[in-house]
Symmetry: C2
Subunit: 135 residues, 2 copies
DNA sequence: CTTTGTGCAAATTCTTTGCACCAAA
DNA sequence: TTTGGTGCAAAGAATTTGCACAAAG
């Protein structure tokens, strides 16, 4: 939790109790959680926590570049504390989202075009994960 | 409209009046429309059309592989009749979505991994479009 | 007839907003 | 104190569901 506190400062985010708790959860649980998953995980130990605060907090984190919002899941927004260039895989059956690291850096380069100013690249893979394949 | 009729048959989709109208709209308007945009465009000439039918129709089209659902826009689902390998760009300001063709085919190759069975690749670029840059 | 498709209304889910209270500087 | 943060309840928007009627084979 103290680490989260310091971590937030790197992004010029004032660490409140709630913000540190959310960041701490993200740092310790690299599961690309939804708002609801974060809320459900924290509310037992933080009964007064409001879902609005979780929304506010993640909006702020995204704005400050501390986390990435993923649109890979059409149902809910998902959040990733790992802001390095990497891709994501979503299992169509269980819905789990996994990181894919060590891809060729060329994949994350924006194509040269005069029509758009590209500032971000998202790469998603869809399919079936190992666990779900065995069913 | 007759073309849409035939087009649907290629995907083993029974062409009802509504389905043909939706497919016709998609084929003639390559704007990656939302459900609501499709509904709004068609309802003037088809006043009894229901939004539920538009939802049903697009679910069917996606299931049969006639269109691709894009998750690039976190607000609404968007649909693309072009099922060839190409990427998408979304302007952060105006929200418009553009196709990006002629990218290196290697970009659309799934990485070799034993952990996942990858069946689809999505590449999204975000930034500012030419029109919005001039503001 | 029997199956499949359509359309309405209601329900659900996710997210945002308005506003009052609390906390920190 | 003044600003910023939090939390509740209500509102809003997108999508899904249940069910009755219509259309097609």
């Amino acid at each position: 939790m103290l680490e989260s506190h310091q971590y937030l400062r790197q992004f010029s985010i004032k660490p409140s109790v709630q913000r540190s708790a959310v960041m701490n959860f993200l740092l310790k649980n690299r599961i690309h959680p939804t708002i609801d998953e974060i809320y459900m995980a924290l509310s037992p130990t933080m009964p007064t926590l409001s879902k609005t605060t979780v929304y506010n907090t993640l909006d702020l984190f995204v704005e400050r570049g501390a986390v990435r919002a993923l649109s890979i899941d059409e149902k809910n927004a998902r959040y990733d504390v790992d802001i390095s260039a990497h891709a994501h895989f979503r299992c169509r059956r269980c819905g789990a989202i996994h990181d894919i690291f060590n891809l060729n850096a060329a994949l994350f380069q924006a194509p040269e075009t005069t029509k758009f100013k590209i500032d971000a690249v998202e790469i998603f893979y869809l399919g079936t994960c190992e666990k779900c394949s065995g069913n």
